[in-house]
Structure formats: C-alpha cells, structure tokens
C-alpha cells in the first residue's frame, strides 16, 4: 500500500507524525518513536515569552544583586558556558537529527515581531527540516481588534518566511472570524502549510484556594470532529499543505483526517497515553483499513470528503447545526 504523502514539500513515507510533545526532550523516547515508524517528529514549542524571559531571568534574579556588597561581587558562578533555554532547544534539535533519520519540524510560539524571531533562523541552522509557527494569541484587551491580531500574525509569518529557507507551517487556533480568508492570507504571506488546531493549556479554578490553576488534558477522540470540519472547508478552497493535530487516536481517525484533506496527521495524546510504540499500531491500522477497503493508495482518499467533494456539504455547514440540535431534542 502506497502511503506516501507530501507535507510542506517533505516527502514522507506515510502521514503519521509525532506531534509537538515533551517526548522530544528525551532522546530515548525519540528513538522509540522513530523505531515505531513515525515519519517525522515535531518539536514542542519554543515560546516567545520563554526566549525573552530566559534572557531576562538572570538579569532580574542574579545580576540585580551583583556588585552591591563589598564581600559578595556576585552570588553564582559567571560561567561562559551559561546557555539559555533556547540554546538548549537548538542543541536538542541537533541531537535528534543526529540520533534518528526522520525529519524534525521545529516549533516557535509567539505573536509579535521582535528579536526572538532570530530563533527561526537558528532552528534552521540547527538542522530543522521545517518550522511550525504557532500563532496562538489570547486577546484579553478591548483595544485589540480582530484585524490587529490577523495583521500581526501575517507580519510574523512574512518575517519568518524571509529569514528561513525551510518550509514554514502555521499552527492556528479555531477561533477566527473567517478562517478561510485568514488561511488564504497566510498562504499568500508565505506559509507553506496550515496545522489545525492548537490545543491550549486551559485555566481551571481551584475554588477552595481561589487560585487559577493551569492544566493540560490529553486529547479525546471527540476533538477530531472540529478539525475534520475545518480541514474539509479549508482544503477545498485554499491550496496548501494541511496537518491535523488533536484528537487522532486510531488508524481510522487518520483515515478520516486524510479524507477531510490532511497531508499530515500529528499524533500526541495517543503516544503519551500508551507509549511511543502506539505509533506502530496506528500505522498498521491505517494500512489495514485502506487495504480492507481496497484503496490503491492513500492519495486516493485525500480530500475525498472535503467541502467540494463530499456528497452532502451541508454536513459541514450551518445546516448541520440545526439538524444536530433537532435530532438531539427528539432523542
């Protein structure tokens, strides 16, 4: 069965990719993911705040105490070897590239132009085969308009596009007023692909302590549906590479994603829950399903269920909403 796919211009033997997760911090786990057959691996994000913050942390918590007391010119060794978190990130890209033969996709997360974007170039220099730009922005100010947000995002994409020669994918959240238009602008600004969607750290509330607590839950298969809809809508209109991220837990899930238009299927929660070897299971499931259903190749299924080609596009559109609500009422 020919499962090959082209994602961001990378020729992959199959679409199943290990998505952004803490797995990449451990070379042993990386090796296991590769051994289990992942066709590529996505780094977790290097955050704009992290890049800025790491640079400032030493200044704020150490240098501020230096040279203020006769007996103690400083309180920590002044090591030339001192490296920032981002440097460590780049080093890990190098290590992974050395360790496993599959492509590595770096990931940057930020929303404004600035010196941190220099790291885009650094990830390429460190050997990343592609870059995933995570444009997750949570607007909390009434002074920021939707236009502002989108313009800023497009600026970032253009800036990154200029600074690297490797392919750049943009990872989005589902919350845009007009995702199709924005997606088309992203592509026009130089994006080589779109990843749907970001999953967020959610804020929970500790009611006893009156504290906000951050949590990150692993994805559930139900989350795939939102992605299938938008893949179907976007892939029918905006020509670019698509990856699905979030909610893929079985080979069948992967099939559906491809049918909706995905070139690449990122798997994270399934690997975190069951171990890196789960990648192998998903791959066999994908292959078996296609074989059982007598497909010639994966390519044959790609986009078959997008907005243009699916038998009843209303399923992806507003009408679907009415029907679902009504069916629910009568059950």
């Amino acid at each position: 069965m020919d499962l090959t796919t082209n994602y961001l211009g990378l020729r992959l033997p199959h679409p199943l990719v290990a998505g952004a997760s803490p797995l990449v911090d451990d070379l042993e786990l990386v090796q296991r993911v590769a051994d289990a057959g992942a066709s590529a691996i996505v780094m977790h994000s290097l955050f704009e705040e992290q890049i800025r913050g790491e640079a400032l942390a030493r200044e704020r918590f150490h240098d501020v105490h230096a040279l203020s007391h006769a007996e103690a010119p400083s309180y920590l060794p002044a090591s030339d070897e001192f490296r920032l978190g981002p440097d460590e990130y780049l080093e890990q890209i190098r290590r992974i590239r050395r360790r496993v033969p599959i492509p590595v996709i770096a990931s940057l997360n930020g929303t404004t132009e600035g010196s941190w974007l220099a790291y885009a170039r650094s990830t390429q220099e460190a050997g990343a085969n592609a870059l995933e730009l995570n444009l997750y922005e949570l607007v909390t100010s009434i002074d920021v308009s939707a236009d502002d947000v989108e313009r800023r995002s497009l600026d970032v994409v253009r800036a990154v596009r200029k600074s690297v020669t490797i392919p750049v994918a943009v990872k989005l959240s589902p919350f845009y007023t007009s995702l199709p238009r924005f997606a088309s602008q992203l592509v026009a600004s130089g994006a080589d692909g779109i990843v749907l969607f970001n999953r967020f750290y959610q804020a929970d509330i500790d009611a006893d302590a009156l504290e906000v607590v951050r949590s990150l839950r692993l994805s559930e298969p139900g989350e795939l549906l939102l992605r299938l809809r938008w893949l179907a809508i976007l892939s029918a209109q905006v020509r670019t590479s698509y990856a699905v991220s979030g909610g893929v837990h079985s080979g069948l899930d992967a099939v559906k994603a491809v049918m909706a238009g995905a070139d690449c299927v990122q798997v994270v929660s399934a690997l975190l829950r069951h171990g890196p070897e789960r990648m192998g299971t998903l791959l066999s499931e994908l292959r078996e399903w296609l074989e059982q259903h007598e497909y010639d190749s994966l390519e044959q299924a790609r986009g078959s269920m997008n907005l243009k080609r699916c038998p009843d596009p209303r399923g992806f559109e507003r009408a679907n909403y009415v029907q679902v609500l009504q069916s629910w009422r009568f059950e």
């Binding site: 030493r58 230096a66 309180y75 009156l210």
Partner: protein, 1187 residues
C-alpha cells in the same frame, strides 16, 4: 609596553599568574581574597590550561587550615601548588606554613592583606594578618598596585623555585585587590622564561615517591633539633639574591624594573618615608609633587620584607638622609614599635655597628591605614612635615584624631595634589541599580579602548538591602598612583535622588564640576526640589547641573530599575572623557559583548536605553539664589540616646571618619537596640492592611525578615488616643477574645520585599486579587503610617503567660530582632526573629561569622534589642570556625555562675527563708511563667540580702540573676556548621551540655558570595562548583542523630510554620544539645524571594527537605525518637529545582548530566526517606543521655 593591556582588579591580576603557574590550587572563601579562588575555579572548569598544558586541579577545602594542609601535601607529592587567603584564614594556615618553610618547599601563597579581628571584625585591608606570619620562615613580598600585584605574583613564583623558600606574596585587601586598573599582562612565554625548569625538576625529584622513598616530618630530640634547624640558613640567606635576579630577568623580559627596596624622590633628600603596599603609591605621588616644589624628601618602597634585605635597604637611602619616618599598616599593642619600624631601626644600627654605613638619621615610626582607613597625600605631607621639627613625635598615628592618648598627627585636609589632566568622577548609586557594573564597564571602555590610564575603586555600605555604592573613577594620561578616594571630582553623579536629602553628595565635587542627577523632576522644576545645602553648594562651587529621569527611560526600555546603562550613557555624553559618538559606539559594543550571550532581547533593551538616554538628558538652569527651605534629614531620630546621636548618627551620615578615638568604647562593647533609630526608608511600596479580610493568622509578621510588619492584641480602651487612620479589629477568638487586634507596618523600616503579601492567605471572595494585605505606593502613606506605627509601638505588650506559643501566638510577642540590614526577602532572619520573640529576654547568642553576623553586628547599628524591662538577647561573634566551642564556653560559664549562685542561695537559707530557697532550687525555667516567677524570687533575694556587708552575700547579689535559667543559642550558617566549624560543632553536641544550635541553612556560603559548602545540594551551581555540584548534600541531621542524645530537627518555616515553632520550643526545653537545621531561601538561589515560602513547600513535598523532629526524650516514654512532620516525597524534585537559577544554569550547561544528577537525587531521597521511616517507626533502644 609589550604585553596585552587590560583593565582588571588586583585579585584577577594575581590569579592570572597563579592559575597559569600551578598544578594544584586548594582554596577556601574569605574576603577580600575569595575572587582569586573563584576565578581559578571558573577557569579550570572552562578548561583553561597552565603553562605546561594542564588544567590546574582546583579544590575547595573545609577551611583555610584544610587548604594549607592540602597544598602542603600537593607540594610533597611534587606538584606546583598555590592558595589564596587573608586575615583569619591566613592565621589558620600558620601551622602548615612553618612546615612548608621548614621543609624548604617552593610554594607561593597570595594574600589580599586584611585586618585581623580584635575588638571587632573588619573585612578591610591592613597588614596585621601578614605581620603575624613574619616568624614562619616564609619570604614576604609586597606589591603596592594592581600592576605590581600581577608582576610580583610572577616574581614570587619564579624566585621560590630557585630559593626553595616559600613565598607569601601580599597586597592590600580591597585597595589593591578590588581596585580596577589598566595593566599590562605578562604573557606565557615570559612566564616560562622566568620559571627555571631545572628548579622544577629538582622539586619533582624531592617529591615523596615509593620509587625513591624518603621520610619527612620526623620527630627530633634535644640532641639534634637545634643544629638541624640551623641547616636551612644558607637558603634563607640566598632569598634576596634570587628575588633580585628574578626582578632583573623580569625587567629584561617585560620591561618593568623593580628592586628589593626602591627609592623615589630627591637625590639629596633629608626626610625619607619608608613604607610597603598601596600607601607607598600615594606616598610616591606626594613625594614627587613635593620634590617638584623644591622639597628635599624621598621614599623607600620596601618590596621584599622577609628576609629583610638590610644592605639593600640602607643602600637605597640617600646619604643626605637626616630623618626617617617608617609607616606600618598594623598595630602591635605593647611592642616597642610596629614591625617595619623595628626592622629599619635594627638594620641601620646593625650596619652602622658593622661599619657598613655612616648614616645616622633620626627614625620614628607611625601607624596609618588600619582597616582601609584612607591614606591621602595630605597625610603623607603631615608625616614629612613632622620630620622637620627638632624632636618629631614617635609612635604616632596618622589619619585619625586620637584625643585619648594624643598620638595622632594633624593633617591639612585642603592639601590636594590631583593633576588637572586627570578626570575624576564619583557616582552615588544603589546596590541594585547596576552602577558599579556600569562603571567597571566604563573603565574597560576607556582603559582598553584608548591610550588613557584608568582606575576604579568602589565603596559599599554594610547593608544587604537598599545598600549604597560610591564609585571613584580616575582617567588620565599617566599610570594612576592615587590609592585613595576621589575628594575633588570634576564629575559627580547621583543615581538616587533621595540621597541628596540624607548625604552630603556634592562634598566631593571640585569647583566648576559637572553634576548629573537622576531625578523624577522636569529640568525647570528640579532646582526647587533640591535641599537648601545642596543648592548652596551648587552656587558656591559654581557647579554645572544636568538631569535625567533615568527610571523613566529604563522603564520605557524594558529595563525596570536598572538605570545603569542610562546613567553610563549620560556620563559619557557630558563628561567629555571621550568624543560622544565614539563613546556611544563603545557602550553599544560593550552591551553586545556583555548581553549577547544572554540573548538579543537584553541587547536590544539596552540599546534602546542608550538612545533614549540622550534624548532625555537636560542641562538644568541654575538660578542665582538659594530658594529651598528643605534641610538634610537627621541621620537618626531626635529621640535617640546621646551615644546614638553622637556616634551612631555620625556613622550613618557617612562621617565616621571624623569621630575621634574618645568616641568609641575601648573594648568593642556596643549598645543594642540601635537599628530602630536608622530609618532607611527604602521601600517603594508597603503593605496595606484590610481589617475586614484579615483572618488574624499572623503569617505576615512571622515571615517578615525585618520585623517591619507586626501584630498586637490590646485593650479596647487604648484606642482612645489612636491616630485617625489607625486600624484595628476585634480579636476573632481564643484567649484574647474581647481585645483589639492590629497588623501594623513600619513604613520606614519595610524593604518592600512583598513576602507578607505573598504569604497572606486571606482573599476577598468577590475579588481574590485583593487580600488582607496588598502592596501600595509608600510615599502617600508614609506620614500617616509613621504616626500609626509610633502609636502601635506605644501600646502595652500582652501578658506573655497568656500567649499561646504556636505559629500564630508567637507573633503577638515583641520581636527583639528588628530592622536588620539583611537582604529584602531574607530567608534566615524570620527564624532569628521568632527565636527572640519566644526566648529573647533570656538568651545569649554566639554567632558564627557570616551573613547573620553581618546583619546582626555590622555597625553602625544592630537589630538586636531589648524589651521594656531592658532585657533582650546578648550577642557576640567570636570567629567563623569556633562558634560552637565559643557557645559551649558561654554555656559552661553561665552554668558555673548558676551553680555558684545556687550554692550561695542555699548557704543563705537562714536569711532568705527555706521556702524561697527550695522554690528557687526547684525552678527549671521551662516557660515564661516559671521564668517570671523566678525573677520575682530573685528580687526577693536581693531585697532580703540588701545591706549585707558579708562577702558571700555580696557575691550572691552580684550573680543572683544566674538563678534564672539562661538560654544559649549557637547561630550560624551552613559554611560554619557543615564545613569550617563542623569539628567543633560535632564535639560540642557530643558533650551533652544544654546548648541550642540554630543552623540557618542556605546551602551555600551566602555572605562571601555563593561558594559551595558541604550543604550545597547535588545539581546546584555555586562558586567552586561552577559546573554544578556533582555529589550530594551532607546529612548533618542524620549525623547528629547518630549520637542518640542530641535533639535534632529539620524545619522549613515556609512549608510548615507550626512545626518550626514546635521544634524551637522543644529544642530549647531539652536539657542536652539541640540542633535545629532551618531551610533558608537566599538570593544566591537566583529567584524572586517573594516565592521563598513557595519554594520551601516544594522542597518539603518533593522530599529534598523532609521535616522531622528527633527527640531523645521520647525514647524514655517508649516511643520512637523520630517524628516525621512531612509526608512521603511526591517525587516532584524537578519542579522544585527548575524554579531556581542555581539549578537551571547547570541544566542549561549540560542537560544530560543534570538529568542524571536529578535521578540520583531522586533515588537518594527515596533511600533517605526509608531510613527516616524506620527511625520513626521502631522504638529506639538507646538510653537518653543525662544532661
């Protein structure tokens, strides 16, 4: 000039040579020598090699005695070794120095000469430590400047190889060790050429080796020791020749020429000074100035002090010499004179008797510069002037006013020899604003980027929070010999506007000087905001005034609080040292170099600050008249006692130098309770209390490092006279129901650290961001809160007997440790404060040297204070290494007096009454009630014995207070308890006596700047463990428990304050030795101290800091001795470690290594937990010791 020119300080200049010239370096931190060891460690950690291609082995020892022993061994093994030390550390090395010299071993130690502790400790410079080593057999070589320190380090390493006599190379602590100057480095080839390979081979051949075994360190008897001791004479006789040869070779290789004793001055000088060290630089400058004016004066700079080169010394004197003044930077009470004076007198006499000279000058000796006391050209002139009188005073002092024994020479303060082509600048900064760093950077820019010579010296006060720094910079066309502070600056910058109200900032400004003020006021409004004396000074001296709102510029550039770059830019813009464009370019290049490694973010923010600075810099129009009525604030409040007004006040105002000898207690005894008069007013924000939300848990008071927020209960009637804004609420419950309750901030003593708000658990249910305590801007609250605090202090204290001694109740007790100069957010001081609240009125504290002795006892003020009865902790610091023994001695002394007082009481049973005597005898002083009752009984004793003329009764009257139990606390940090003082601590706890030991464990040498101790945990970076400590923390608690009779507790107030209080109470009540090890967060850990308590929680839950109490008394009750106060470790050690820079930087250096260390630590935590659980479960078989 042939070598590379750089700007660096004396310590680095020396380390540059020592590291390249050594194979083994054994070190131990001590101010002001620490950075030589730190640099060596860092360089070796980075793989820097010595001259022979090897990375020197650097090892930190447990004390200087240990370092000396280690180098002795390394030398015996045939390696080239060195060490660095000062002061008390040097004293600890003396025994080994005799051995190393006695065995004729080539070796160099580098000493940043520092004052020895006598009536007080001083970290500053003089020769008292070095002079205590004259008799060891070491050669003593003295350098007087940063360049000389670099050069003589090489000379010492070269000469010792040839001479086989070990060298102590010394230079003045701080004045030379910390002065930044432009020097030329000696390159590797020159060093190699200086060091005789054959001599190195010979040293190796003498090594202890089983391949050619010998025996050293034998014991000899009367028959042979004396002769054998004399056998070394030829070697010592030859030292001067070897040094002279090395100087000669050095001159040929490098171009700089030195002699054993160098003369400068008039060839026919009649009056000659003899000196060593940095003072000789000032003397040379002055002598040259006077000679140019036609005076026949001169100076002999003694370089090789031991063996004293008699012939060379006398030969250095011009034949015209009529009178000599020998200046010693040390004091030897009871001696005929100080050492150099005695040597000079003896040398002249010996050579005259031998017929080798006809010189017969009058010789007088004097003391100068003790503890880095300023030594200025005016003082040099005063000494030379004294030599013109017929009978010059001998054994004089210069630099102080001695109005007790009248030995001091007067000097003319207006005498100034600063050259007009030297730019002199002074910068008043806050420790945290980066002023010193920026100035060091400016020196580099000018010193390394231009032909100009540069010098920088930095003066710090003794506070660890809100500290003031004054930078003294000089730039000029010739090497700068002025080893004294700038007093006539052509540029003065004040980086903190508030200083102008408190200090005479412009006193150092020369007429016509440029003044730069960082102020929040617009240029046209600034003048009226200046205090009257400042306006007057500006007008009188016709100063040019500039201003910038640096805080605003820094904030807008994203560099909150760090105004260094802004002010540095302004300095270059208006001082004219460099062309403006060139200077800006150089600043930016320096920023790129400094911050580039840390990420472009900081670079860009600093660049923005530079650009914005120029746009915000304005010249201030100076009107012709004084308009202000604002006077300088008094240094202490007007109600302070006379001594505090006269002495402490002068010290606080920066006028300590002007105090005469008579102002001081002759024995180092100082009054307590003085920090309350020093209103430092350093908090930008202070906490504001919401009475409605407060749950009266008192955590704010418990955690406040400065006793600047307090809780009190009082009778409602007291509110009658309360100020209008005074807040109180009803006591919620418990023993004080019906009373009123107040949480009150001390607005001028608060440091604004925010710990109180961080620990406050009481949130507004509708708006949880608002808590019972919120930080608010201090300025608008100051007047009202000052009055409220005054009123609060005046309220009666609650009856102690009624207060429940738990985490909440103890905070209703008056702290007898308040407003220390500790760091904002300090993790140590809350424990000490708590200790004084509970036991303060009956406690004697023996305090090991370290942070706690500095914030506890560094003048001008002390935080230890008294209650209304005049009782409070009595406090003393002996040394670093001996604190446990010192404390035990205090216990023994008190016990002796107690048993004598008891015996005398019993002997007076007739007069006192059997009942009273029995009650006195039975009282154990277990709590406040018993103590109070016993004090009443003592009162009765005094009453009943009053008027008795019998000697036993008199004796009892004198010592009757000892009938009341005294609590003895031995306090110190982990450097003391785990390392240098461990032997003593171990012995003391083994003795079973009733002492309480409180270890304030920051897991690092905090006071000397973050060197690793045996308490430093695995995976933490510290100095001397630059790559992260690879081995685990010593378990001091477990070691102490192994005795069975020691009460041991591990506490972390931030994790479980109730357990801390319980442990202190149990420790104090136990009549044997008690050891309480207290987790103390510290700025050396590298995070925001407001999160200290949170980190403590993580330390405890992760299991790295388990909480427990081991009480031998429980064994008698058939229980397990150990009670675990924290739960099974959660395993979240990574989360704890990654919050702190000390661990983070190790992970960033080498993540794989860090991960491995993390895993080992995790395994260790589990293993240790198993041990603790066993101790907590099984009843112990050992009998508790009787105390």
């Amino acid at each position: 000039m042939r070598g590379k020119q750089v700007t660096l300080d004396g310590n680095e200049a020396v380390a540059h040579v020592a590291h390249r010239s050594s194979e083994v370096i054994a070190i131990y931190p001590i101010t002001p020598s620490s950075s030589m060891g730190e640099l060596s460690d860092e360089w070796s950690a980075q793989g820097r090699k010595n001259l022979w291609g090897q990375v020197p082995e650097v090892i930190e020892m447990q004390s200087e005695a240990g370092a000396a022993g280690a180098v002795h061994g390394a030398l015996q093994a045939g390696s080239l070794a060195t060490t660095f030390t000062a002061s008390q550390g040097l004293l600890l090395m003396i025994p080994n120095m005799y051995k190393i010299a006695g065995e004729l071993t080539p070796f160099v130690m580098h000493v940043a000469a520092r004052t020895l502790a006598t009536h007080a400790l001083s970290i500053f410079g003089d020769h008292s430590d070095v002079m205590a080593c004259r008799q060891t057999g070491f050669a003593l070589l003295c350098s007087g400047s940063v360049q000389e320190a670099h050069d003589f380090a090489a000379i010492a390493h070269a000469a010792t190889l040839k001479a086989r006599v070990p060298f102590l190379h010394f230079f003045d602590g701080f004045r030379t060790s910390h002065e930044v100057a432009k020097v030329e480095l000696v390159d590797d080839d020159s060093l190699r050429a200086l060091y005789d390979e054959g001599a190195i081979h010979a040293h190796r051949a003498r090594a202890l080796s089983p391949d050619h075994p010998v025996l050293r360190g034998s014991a000899q008897n009367p028959d042979t020791f004396f002769q054998a001791r004399e056998a070394c004479n030829p070697f010592h006789d030859a030292v001067a020749g070897h040094v002279e040869a090395a100087f000669g070779q050095f001159a040929e290789l490098v171009g700089r020429r030195y002699g054993l004793c160098d003369y400068v001055g008039h060839p026919q000088a009649e009056r000659v000074l003899v000196m060593m060290g940095s003072g000789a630089e000032t003397a040379q400058e002055t002598v040259e100035h006077l000679v140019a004016k036609g005076e026949k004066v001169g100076l002999v700079k003694v370089r090789l002090y031991r063996p004293f080169p008699l012939a060379r010394f006398v030969a250095a004197l011009p034949p015209s010499t009529r009178a000599i003044a020998v200046l010693d930077r040390t004091k030897e009470p009871g001696a005929v004179g100080e050492p150099l004076y005695l040597d000079v007198v003896t040398a002249l006499r010996e050579l005259r008797d031998a017929g080798e000279t006809k010189l017969d000058p009058r010789v007088v000796g004097g003391r100068y510069g003790l503890s880095s006391k300023e030594f200025t050209p005016a003082m040099v002139k005063a000494v030379l002037d004294e030599l013109t009188v017929a009978r010059p005073r001998n054994h004089f002092t210069v630099g102080i006013v001695d109005d007790v024994t009248h030995r001091s020479l007067a000097w003319d303060k207006s005498f100034d020899i600063e050259s007009p082509d030297v730019v002199r600048a002074m910068f008043w900064g806050l420790g945290s604003d980066g002023t010193v760093g920026a100035n060091k950077n400016s020196i580099k820019i000018i010193g390394e980027g231009t032909e100009l010579f540069a010098q920088g010296y930095f003066v710090y006060d003794s506070k660890k929070s809100g500290s003031i720094t004054i930078s003294h910079l000089r730039f000029g066309p010739r090497p700068i010999r002025s080893s004294y502070l700038v007093t006539s600056a052509n540029f003065v910058a004040c980086h903190m506007f508030g200083f102008l109200e408190r200090y005479d900032v412009l006193a150092g400004a020369a007429p016509g000087a440029t003044v730069l003020l960082n102020s929040p006021y617009a240029p046209e409004k600034l003048w009226d905001e200046l205090p009257r004396p400042v306006q007057q000074e500006i007008l009188t001296k016709r100063l040019k005034l500039w201003t910038i709102d640096a805080a605003l510029v820094a904030n807008e550039s994203g560099m909150r609080g760090r105004i260094n770059t802004v002010m540095q830019t302004c300095f270059f813009a208006i001082s004219g040292v460099l062309p403006r464009e060139k200077a800006i370019g150089a600043i930016k290049a320096a920023i790129q170099k400094t911050y580039g490694k840390k990420g472009q973010e900081l670079v860009e923010r600093n660049f923005a600050a530079v650009d914005a600075a120029l746009a915000h810099l304005h010249e201030v129009p100076v009107p012709g008249t004084v308009t202000s009525k604002l006077e300088l604030l008094p240094p202490v409040s007007k109600d302070a006692p006379d001594f505090v007004q006269r002495v402490t006040g002068a010290m606080i105002a920066g006028h300590g130098d002007d105090l005469p000898v008579s102002a001081f207690p002759p024995d180092g005894t100082w009054p307590v309770g003085t920090s309350r008069y020093e209103k430092r007013n350093i908090a930008a924000e202070i906490p504001v209390w919401d009475t409605k939300l407060c749950i009266q848990c008192n955590k704010c008071a418990l955690f406040c490092p400065h006793a600047a927020i307090r809780a009190k209960v009082f009778e409602p009637a007291a509110l009658e006279h309360a100020p209008g804004t005074y807040k109180s609420s009803d006591v919620k419950a418990g023993e004080f129901a019906g009373s009123k309750f107040t949480i009150q901030v001390a607005p001028e003593d608060c440091t604004g650290c925010g710990l109180c708000v961080a620990v406050c658990p009481a949130k507004d249910k509708s708006n949880p961001r608002h808590k019972a305590l919120d930080m608010a801007t201090q300025a608008p609250l100051l007047a009202a809160e000052r009055e409220n605090y005054e009123f609060f202090l005046g309220l009666a204290e609650p009856p102690r007997e009624k207060v429940k001694l738990d985490n909440k109740g103890t905070q209703l007790l008056e702290p007898l440790f308040e407003y220390s100069g500790a760091c904002a957010g300090c993790g140590e001081t809350p424990y000490l404060k708590l200790l004084t609240q509970v036991f303060g009125d009956r406690t004697v504290i023996a305090n090991a040297t370290g942070c706690s002795s500095i914030y506890g006892g560094n003048l001008p003020t002390t935080p230890y204070t008294t209650n209304r009865d005049g009782r409070g902790p009595a406090w003393a610091n002996s040394l670093f290494e001996d604190n446990a023994e010192f404390g035990l001695g205090i216990r023994l002394g008190i016990d002796a007096l107690r048993s004598e007082s008891l015996a005398l009481t019993k002997a007076h049973a007739g007069v006192l009454g059997e009942e009273l005597v029995a009650a006195i005898e039975a009282c154990e002083g277990r709590d406040d009630a018993e103590i109070a009752a016993q004090r009443e009984r003592v009162k009765l004793v005094r009453e009943r014995l009053r008027g008795s003329k019998e000697r036993p009764a008199q004796r009892l009257l004198q010592i009757a207070d000892y009938l009341v139990r005294k609590s003895v606390w031995l306090v110190g940090g982990d450097g003391w308890a785990y390392d240098i003082g461990f032997g003593g601590l171990d012995h003391v706890i083994s003795q079973g006596r009733d002492v309480n030991i409180l270890v304030l464990d920051t897991e690092v040498y905090s006071n000397t700047g973050g060197q690793a101790s045996k308490s430093t945990p695995r995976g933490a970076a510290a100095k001397f463990a630059a790559n992260g400590k690879s081995l685990g923390k010593k378990d001091l608690a477990l070691m102490a428990m192994s005795y069975g009779h020691v009460y041991v507790a591990r506490v972390a107030m931030g994790a479980k304050d109730a357990q801390t209080v319980k442990a202190l109470l149990e420790a104090e009540s136990y009549r044997g030795p008690s050891l309480v090890i207290a987790y103390s967060h510290c700025i050396a850990h590298g995070y925001d101290m407001a999160f200290g308590p949170e980190q403590q929680k993580l330390a405890v839950t992760s299991g790295t800091w388990p909480l427990y109490r081991y009480d031998p008394r429980r064994v008698a009750a058939g229980e397990a001795p150990l009670v675990l106060d924290s739960g099974t470790p959660t395993g979240a050690i990574g989360a704890y470690m990654r919050n702190e820079t000390r661990f983070r930087m190790v992970e960033q250096q080498d993540p794989a290594r860090f991960k491995a260390m993390l895993e080992t630590t995790q395994a260790e935590i589990r293993a240790r937990w198993d041990v603790l659980q066993r101790l907590a479960e099984k009843p112990h078989v050992q009998e508790p010791a009787k105390s």
